[in-house]
Symmetry: C2
């Protein structure tokens, strides 16, 4: 199945490449593709220059992955972008967001009445994108139907492993975590970065 | 200070972009630059296409970072590459390796009599690059003078935070870890992936 990764200027590096490391090890199951609105080189917040294809070429039946980062702040103001993103998210089999990517997706209205999370630092911003989303602050990641949303940056890796556990079994996820010597926070409700409020 | 990141075909994605996420947040302290032997687009083992400059343009006085990945297996056979890598590593102020990047650096001979580590799966391969290195299997990362070497893939992030702690203080490293919601394995000797032998 295609994993369609949506990049934009000033995306957060690890939001993308944490999950990419994990899904990219399952070459028989996932076909990783990098897209952006106009294609070409996209530069992350940390200065990584990544080559992408235009998003018109996406096979929409795959998995859509939306990272966060400073770039989301501008995109939520772009009506055409949000309109096309909504269409992509609706048609995708699964839709995964990392960090403030949850806010970007929420802006499309597609998360209304659904449970979702985002990172701690920009949680209020994400919430303000759609107050009818059932925002959950204390969660490493949240699953609601086809939507997987994660907390800040590194939580995207835990969610990616959680997604793999749900599709291919937990043993497979653990195997990958050990392979990349990653200490997997496998309980999605366990979140040391959420303060009790 | 420049952080010169050395890419090559089939590098391991997270070996690079884990540390890049962390160093890239300290824009006043580190200037991230991506190089390869010939410049141009380099493709990671997980299919990420990254734009690089030719390594002849490196300001050698900076920090050199060498990732691992399948691509290392070919490079250790390339005499000219190893020769130039040795020169770069000698001139660099600090030299950081992740995963099998330690084996690649060891091949230059520069780690002789120094303590170093590498990932678990390819540990014997790394060792075989230079048996006179004091290889340490149970370590998240190892510091010997200007050389920082880490275990597999994800351990590169712990090492990056460790490097920052050594240079800028532990508070600064913790601040970054919290910012990216990363559970930092801050004790470099604590390594759950090493089995007692």
């Amino acid at each position: 199945m295609d994993l369609n990764i949506l990049l934009f200027q000033d995306f957060e590096t690890l939001d993308v490449f944490g999950p990419v490391e994990i899904f990219g090890l399952l070459k028989e199951e996932f076909n990783l593709k990098f897209y952006s609105a106009n294609g070409g080189i996209i530069i992350s917040n940390q200065g990584v220059k990544v080559l992408t294809e235009e998003w018109t070429y996406i096979d929409e039946s795959g998995i859509l992955m939306i990272p966060g980062g400073q770039g989301t702040r501008k995109l939520v103001e772009d009506v055409d972008y949000i309109h096309h993103l909504k269409d992509l998210a609706e048609k995708s089999k699964y839709c995964l967001t990392v960090c403030t990517g949850s806010g970007l997706l929420a802006k499309t209205g597609i998360l209304k009445e659904k449970e979702a999370t985002s990172n701690k630092i920009a949680f209020d911003w994400a919430k303000s994108m759609d107050t009818e989303v059932k925002w959950i602050k204390k969660a490493r990641w949240v699953v609601d139907g086809k939507f997987y949303t994660s907390s800040g940056v590194s939580a995207g890796m835990d969610m990616a492993l959680g997604f793999i556990a749900d599709r291919l079994g937990k043993d497979r996820a653990v195997e990958i975590a050990v392979h990349i010597e990653y200490i997997w926070n496998s309980n999605k409700e366990y979140d040391i970065f959420a303060k009790d409020e």
